[in-house]
């Protein structure tokens, strides 16, 4: 195949010609238009979606983690509360027990004192009664003894009684020196 050109000298290769520039511009324009309007927005959208999907997964994991942490914290809190409660109840029970013991001790003491007091009163009453009886018996015996010794019945009761009383007072006076020490001992 032979090249048939009228011109002997070819166009210089460093001089651009207008029709080729125009074709270059048009073709480049087409590529640019397709990229700019259609393809790059499409791929950017897909890339964004992918990133969102990845980030969404990560967010989900983070949320689950946060929830787990929260649950754990609430459990811990509940546990601490329960422990606190138990300690409080133990303390309360201890206090209650102590106060109960103290109360019962007090009650016992009181009852004991009451018993002691009642005993003392009983003893005092018995003693008084015994003393009364004793006085009468002693008087009767003494009169009988005196009547036998003297051989005469003492008619005047008042006189008789006065005599007995004087006699007994004398006796008591004599006994009084030793009795108080005994009675104080019994009071204890």
């Amino acid at each position: 195949m032979l090249i048939e050109l009228a011109a002997e000298e070819p166009m210089s290769p460093v001089l651009p010609v207008v029709p080729e520039i125009v074709i270059g511009l048009i073709c480049f324009g087409v590529v640019y238009f397709v990229f700019h309007k259609k393809l790059l927005p499409a791929i950017n959208k897909a890339l964004d979606e992918r990133r969102e999907a990845i980030e969404g997964g990560m967010e989900k994991a983070e949320a689950a983690q946060a929830e787990a942490r929260q649950t754990l914290e609430s459990y811990k809190e509940q546990l601490a509360e329960a422990r606190h409660e138990a300690a409080r109840m133990r303390q309360e029970a201890q206090e209650q027990g102590a106060s109960l013991i103290a109360e019962m001790r007090e009650e016992g003491q009181r009852q004991r004192e009451e018993l002691i007091a009642a005993g003392h009163a009983q003893i005092a009453a018995d003693r008084k009664q015994a003393a009364e009886l004793l006085r009468q018996d002693v008087g009767k015996l003494a009169i009988e003894l005196a009547g036998r010794l003297v051989g005469e019945s003492l008619e005047d009761h008042a006189r008789q009684s006065r005599t007995i009383d004087r006699f007994l007072d004398d006796l008591e006076e004599q006994a009084g020196r030793s009795v108080p020490s005994e009675s104080s001992e019994a009071g204890r």
Binding site: I3, E4, L25
Partner: protein, 275 residues
């Protein structure tokens, strides 16, 4: 078949002659005629030649590939989308964000288009039957450089206003006052006039030279065939052709990267506030 006299020796390739070493005819070296093609067909009065067809085909290939990959982009990508995403990520992150920074996003479509347009046009150099880099026709790099230049100028003046834009273009900051007398015209020349020219010529010349190199060794292989000694020469030349083909593959991608990265640099400078 008798030779036509209108066609000089320069206008034929070795394959079109039976010219071999020791035949007494000279080496039919590739010339500027290697870059001029008969029209393939005509639309009306408009003649479509091979480089034009390759440019249109590049457009179709880029659009089709990325259409298949991205038009119904899925969150979980298929194979084609995955490959396209890697390429997209290379331009978006490796070039645009690396150079321009946070404001890069509006310029990603431009940089994407530039990178793939240049790359695919370059690649034709080693595709069987095409075997011609469309970018070695200077009009195509020039068209792209024109777009880059227009973007650069528009952005400079839009960001900084007219005075600030001129300052951005011509007055580098932080120098002694006297220097500006010399430096301002140089900067203006460098930024406004030389930059688009170098952008054009760098790409054009690389691909032009690459194509010439491949032609030299391919023609050499053919030319040195025909004798025992010549066969050894031809084998050597063939090995060189294969090696250079791989080298060209590298250069094609590199030039596309350089073109795009420089564009990103210009955009980045245009977006800088005047000092």
């Amino acid at each position: 078949m008798p030779r036509e006299f209108t066609v000089s020796n320069d206008q034929v390739l070795a394959f079109e002659t039976d010219c071999h070493l020791f035949d007494g005819c000279g080496f039919p070296a590739p010339s500027e005629w290697s870059f001029i093609f008969d029209p393939l067909f005509t639309i009306g009065s408009f003649e479509v030649d091979k480089p034009m067809a390759l440019v249109v085909l590049s457009t179709a290939i880029i659009c089709t590939f990325f259409w298949v990959a991205f038009s119904r982009a899925k969150v979980v990508p298929g194979k084609v989308q995955l490959v396209a995403e890697v390429l997209y990520d290379f331009v978006r992150r490796g070039i645009a964000r690396e150079t321009i920074g946070k404001k890069a996003e509006p310029y990603v479509p431009l940089l994407m288009s530039l990178f793939f347009f240049v790359w695919i046009m370059n690649i034709w150099a080693i595709i069987p039957f095409a075997q011609f880099p469309a970018t070695s026709i200077i009009a195509y790099p020039a068209a792209l450089a024109l777009i880059v230049w227009a973007t650069y100028m528009t952005l400079t003046f839009k960001t900084n206003g007219f005075v600030g834009g001129m300052r951005n273009l011509c007055v580098p900051s932080g120098l002694p006052k006297g220097i500006y007398v010399i430096l301002t015209p140089i900067e203006f020349l460098s930024n406004v006039i030389v930059r688009p020219l170098t952008l054009t010529v760098r790409l054009f010349a690389n691909m032009f030279a690459g194509h010439l190199l491949l032609l030299v060794f391919i023609i050499g292989t053919w030319y040195t065939l025909g004798s025992v000694v010549g066969t050894f020469y031809a084998a050597t030349s063939m090995v060189m052709t294969v090696a250079l083909t791989f080298f060209e593959l590298f250069i094609q991608a590199l030039q596309a990267y350089v073109f795009t990265a420089l564009t990103a640099t210009y955009i980045s400078q245009a977006l800088e506030e005047a000092h």
